[in-house]
């Protein structure tokens, strides 16, 4: 299993980088979401579950300017939005690192594959999702 034409396995540093991205991204996302929920509950202690579902608090913060304004005002729903974004962005970040690895290694096909996956993920988040809203 060591024919010279075979590409090498990914180096150890790549595994450690991926693991670090997954752990850190998850920790940041969960922390922001837990803090956001607790602060939101503090200000809306008697909110009903059905009401909460009917009026998703993050809808006002899905645009860039609204999100920045919400964060500047310290709105917990804006913090929740960033937490959710961090959760979605964590696997996307590791696709970015995969793309750079294959690019530097000169592996054109896998570079193209990871770039396509990355563009599709961004297309879903920034184009398809808002269009379907």
């Amino acid at each position: 299993m060591s024919a010279p034409s075979v590409r090498p396995l990914l180096p150890d540093v790549e595994y450690r980088r991926m693991s670090f991205i997954l752990r850190t991204g998850l920790a940041i996302a969960l922390l922001l979401m837990v803090v956001g929920v607790l602060v939101y509950l503090f200000f809306h202690p008697h909110l009903d579950l059905a009401q909460a579902l009917a009026h998703n608090p993050i809808l006002r913060y899905l645009g860039f300017t609204g999100l920045v304004a919400g964060l500047a005002a310290g709105n917990p729903a804006a913090v929740l939005t960033v937490g959710l974004l961090a959760l979605v962005a964590t696997p996307i970040l590791r696709v970015v690192t995969g793309f750079y690895y294959f690019r530097h290694g000169g592996e054109r096909t896998l570079e193209l594959v990871t770039l396509t996956v990355l563009l599709l993920l961004l297309f879903g988040l920034f184009v398809l999702g808002p269009v379907l809203r």
Partner: protein, 284 residues
């Protein structure tokens, strides 16, 4: 139900779902989504959004450990995402479109049918620890879809290579579609493609499937999030609870008989699936 009571109950449900999901190998979403609809009256579209967040959290948690142990084949995983991601985008878009068209009952029926398909597949899964006589196809050789891991049980390094990549890509597209549409990991389909077609060793297939679930879920969750289908007030406690339950389940698993656990919980999941179909048909 007021949030101060609902949120701890949701978290409790999620802990149980994460525990059972880990013990049965079905994943937490399979239990959480129908339970949110049937027990808490959460609309199916919101439950699917919560499911997507749940699998993102649990996949990142388990994925980090598998990657660190070098059980995940990053190269094969990233190659197959070219099929799962378009599938998930189409699946999540379908969910949004069906919801806007007030066709949630169709989603409920389809969810019930998918659950009924997943359960026997998981029970009857026959793992081949180390497949023999694998002849990698031309694409696999060109892309270097092969690797090596250290097997702690056998106490030796194991080399492997991927076989039939074309049918595996087809199954992965289907797995992505199901994952995006229902907010579940659809790991059973991914493991099927990795074990049956690519003919990877069981441990590598399981770890690589988990790694891929994260990116597939990100594709579906991205659309659901941007379309406003994810309510973080429900998603946050459920994601946290499922991650805790899955962690507990993975600790408990070595001390329990796997088959016994499955036979205890699988009738319960079948009941949720049937109830979901009946609710969709307007009978229940």
């Amino acid at each position: 139900m007021q949030l101060e009571l609902a949120l701890p109950l949701l978290m409790l449900l999620a802990i149980v779902a994460g525990l059972v999901g880990a013990l049965t190998g079905l994943g937490g979403g399979v239990i959480v989504i129908p339970a949110l609809v049937l027990l808490f009256g959460v609309p199916i579209s919101d439950a699917i959004g919560v499911g997507a967040v749940t699998i993102l959290a649990s996949s990142s948690a388990a994925g980090a450990a598998y990657v660190r142990e070098h059980l995940t084949d990053l190269r094969i995983g990233m190659f197959l995402e070219i099929a799962t991601v378009p599938g998930a985008l189409i699946g999540a878009s379908t969910t949004v479109i069906l919801t806007h068209a007030s066709l949630e009952p169709v989603l409920l029926i389809a969810l019930g049918v998918v659950l009924l398909l997943i359960v026997p597949g998981t029970i009857s899964r026959r793992h081949v620890e180390l497949p023999e006589g694998v002849q990698p196809d031309a694409r696999s050789r060109r892309l270097g879809l092969r690797g090596r891991y250290h097997d702690n049980v056998l106490d030796r390094d194991v080399d492997y290579a991927a076989d039939r990549t074309s049918p595996a890509l087809g199954v992965m597209f289907g797995a992505g579609l199901v994952s995006g549409m229902f907010g579940i990991g659809a790991g059973v389909f991914k493991v099927l493609a990795l074990e049956k077609y690519l003919r990877l060793p069981m441990k590598v297939a399981t770890a690589t499937s988990n790694f891929m679930i994260g990116v597939t879920a990100a594709a579906g969750a991205g659309i659901l999030f941007a379309a406003g289908f994810i309510d973080p007030l429900v998603a946050a406690p459920v994601a946290l609870g499922t991650a805790l339950g899955a962690f507990g389940g993975s600790r408990l698993l070595p001390h329990l008989r796997n088959q016994t656990v499955r036979w205890v919980f699988i009738p319960f999941i079948v009941l949720l699936a049937v109830e979901s179909i009946l609710r969709g048909l307007g009978i229940a």
